[in-house]
Amino acid sequence: MPRPMLKTQQTAQQQENILSTTAKPQTKNETETNEESMMKLDRLLRRPRSKAYMEAMTKLDAGGKANNREKVQELINIIRSEFPEVELAGYLLGYVSKCYLGNPYEVHILDANGEIVEHYQKGKPLPGGLEKARSIAIRGGYDFIEVYSDCCRAVSSNGSVSVIK
């Protein structure tokens, strides 16, 4: 499983992922173990989500496949600014939420790697490990589900986060 990093002031390589900041470093405190790093990250990701972040996520349901590159980029920038201190490349797989476009659409996703907003019909499996969040996205009553490589984080409308390991 790729290890997410808490960002420090040191310089590191730039990430291409949507949640990597443009010039933010990606180094790890040498004295900090992976376990400590993960626990700190867990606490950080447990933090209630901001209003701007919640609003950005609700725009996912804008309709059809999002072809407007600028809009998607704007959305990604807002999401990225939610966790400026953390590098989630490879750890966050994407977002899944219930689709309100109506039948036959069930869910839509924001793929963390491909930066694609796409709506999925009944029976069509979700890519990139996102399928595990399908049922809870449809029936859980959460605004959206953040899917990570080792868990899911369900975000309620008030921004509170529930962790499912």
């Binding site: 049922s135 809870i136 029936r139 959460y142 509170s160 529930s162 962790v163 499912i164």
Partner: protein
């Protein structure tokens, strides 16, 4: 002209007949052997069955014997443990009884101080290592206004157990309305605490604090101390995660099994039922937790009950088992569980594991909070402490509760299976009745067609009709020729008639069977349709009920949201001030 040669084959024929007859004999002998082997085989089977039963009975007997032996051992062991407790700590009981008596007698002022002094000095000699004995001497000296002795006795008591001595005098001073002294002793008690390794008695100070019994100044000290503990613990790696886990476990302990349900069709005809049952139990947890929390916070503590609690806290301190006694007390408890479960050590161990938390000599502060809030019976926490523990742990409880809820929701099956014999289909919300019935009809039609296909006239039976007519016709013609041919004709006519009769008889039988098959499949169709409809109706009801029950989680989260630790502490202080005025 060639000469004719006659060969007599009769001996050969006889020999062949002989061989044939012998073969018959051998054959019948083999049949007899076969029969004997079958009998032996069936006897062996019976023996095997009996042996299996015997083995089971033997295992059962061994198990029961082991249980009976263990029960006997437990009965003997518990007596020796109690004797050892009495021998080692019998004096402690006496000291505990006297402490209670002296505290009560002092209140009533009916015992001469010299009597108290004599008794306490004797007890001091009888219990050389027990912390409570010098405390008792100190109290007696205090009553007699002998400061020097009181100081010496206190020094000894502090040497033996600083923490408990401090707590005891904090509570005694509080009872005597010596507020400054009470504060000093409480400060001392708290300074003795390590938040990662709290003594069992810490719950008492929490109780007293949460109940508003330690005075306003004391609350300030305790609140600051608790704040410092929490800050320190929160900075530890893994602490928050452990907290969430602890609270999740405690919340899940409140789950109740679903038992008998109204969803008989889902239960009977769906492989998804175990999962559905599991998530419904999870959804029912919301109402249980809400009621549990509401019940805690709805309970009001009156001034009288606060005073009773104070006495109880003091009584607990001077009557509860001491740390030294705990290992033996644990053994005693374990053996008593063994006796309770008729020698079943496994069950005794399970029960001990459940009780273990309450028996733990030391625990960290947050475990103490979890136990106080969620296991008041085993942690002996008062309602006030439960409120306080929940208020302090609010964030962790919310996180844990949200996680428990989300985990349950994660298990919600998007599709529910319906398994009715060979009919294995799925529904999401029970809305696809037409689709499922169509599939079911097709399946029934297919099965019926298959069953009917196996019930048609064979080629011979079909041939019998026309073959019989033709043979009969030919026979009829032959009848008129006369002589031996007429005889053959007669046979042909009979055969022909027989064949025709056979054809119609088989045809009738087949038709009857086919009608039966049709009826059976129609019955199956009707029954199946009824089951599918009822099943889908239950799916609709289940989804609706689950949604309703699951939505009750909001009651819990709203309830937890409105608990404010700061306001709660403030309210406690206000309550305390009112209590002081009334006193």
């Amino acid at each position: 002209m060639a000469e004719q040669v006659y060969v007599d084959l009769s001996p050969v024929i006889r020999a062949v007949e002989n061989v044939n007859s012998n073969l018959h004999v051998i054959n019948s002998n083999i049949d007899a052997v076969h029969g004997t082997v079958d009998t032996v085989d069936s006897n062996v089977r019976i023996v095997y069955d009996d042996l299996g039963k015997l083995a089971n009975e033997f295992h059962e007997f061994v198990y029961r014997q082991l249980m009976a032996n263990r029960l006997g051992v437990a009965n003997t062991k518990i007596v020796s443990i109690r004797q050892e407790l009495d021998k080692k700590f019998g004096n402690y009981d006496t000291v505990r009884r006297h402490t209670t008596g002296i505290l009560q007698a002092t209140d009533l002022e009916i015992i001469r101080s010299s009597t108290i002094t004599t008794v306490t000095e004797e007890l001091m000699l009888d219990a050389p290592n027990y912390w409570l004995a010098p405390c008792l001497v100190a109290i007696a000296a205090w009553i007699n206004d002998k400061r020097e002795i009181a100081d010496k006795a206190l020094r000894e008591a502090i040497k033996r157990n600083d923490e408990k001595t401090s707590l005891l005098f904090a509570l005694v001073c509080r009872r005597a309305e010596r507020k400054d002294a009470c504060l000093k002793w409480t400060e001392r008690y708290l300074a003795n605490q390590n938040e990662e390794n709290l003594d069992r008695k810490a719950v008492i100070i929490l109780d007293a604090f949460a109940s508003g019994l330690l005075g306003a100044d004391t609350e300030g000290v305790v609140a600051r101390q608790i704040g410092a503990w929490m800050d320190h613990l929160s900075q530890k790696v893994g602490f928050v995660e452990k907290q969430t886990e602890q609270w999740s476990d405690a919340i899940n302990l409140k789950r109740r099994s679903l038992g008998e349900t109204d969803y008989s069709y889902l239960h009977k005809y769906s492989k998804t039922w175990p999962l559905l049952k599991d998530i419904m139990e999870g959804a029912n947890l919301h109402a249980i937790i809400f009621e549990y929390l509401k019940n805690i916070f709805d309970q009001e503590s009156s001034t009288d009950s606060l005073k009773v609690q104070l006495d109880q806290i003091l009584t607990d301190l001077v009557t509860d088992f001491d740390d030294e006694e705990l290992p033996l007390r644990k053994e005693e408890k374990f053996e008593s569980f063994v006796i309770q479960f008729d020698g079943d050590e496994q069950r005794a161990k399970q029960n001990m594991a459940i009780e273990q938390t309450a028996f733990e000599t030391h625990k960290d502060f947050t475990q103490l909070l979890t136990d106080a809030a969620m296991k008041p019976e085993s942690s002996h926490a008062s309602v006030s402490t439960q409120k306080f523990a929940l208020a302090l742990s609010k964030d962790w409880v919310s996180n844990a509760y949200n996680d428990v809820t989300a985990k349950n929701r994660m298990k919600i099956p998007h599709e529910i299976e319906i398994n009715l014999e060979n009919f294995n289909e799925k529904t999401t919300d029970g809305q696809n009745e037409k689709e499922l019935l169509d599939i079911f009809h097709k399946m029934i039609n297919k099965e019926k067609a298959h069953a009917l296909a196996g019930n048609v006239l064979s080629a011979f039976d079909m041939f019998c009709l026309w073959g019989g007519i033709i043979i009969g016709g030919i026979g009829l013609i032959m009848l008129f020729i006369g002589g031996f041919v007429s005889f053959l004709g007669f046979i042909a006519v009979v055969a022909g008639i027989g064949m025709v009769i056979n054809h119609f008889s088989k045809k009738k039988k087949i038709e009857k069977t086919r009608v039966n098959i049709e009826t059976a499949f129609e019955n199956k169709r009707q029954a199946g349709m009824q089951i599918i409809r009822a099943f889908l109706a239950e799916v609709v009801d289940f989804r609706a009920e689950f949604e309703e029950r699951d939505a009750e989680s909001k009651n819990v989260t709203d309830f937890l949201d409105q608990i404010s630790p700061d306001q709660y502490v403030k309210k406690l202080s206000d309550t305390t001030r009112r209590i002081k005025v009334s006193e």
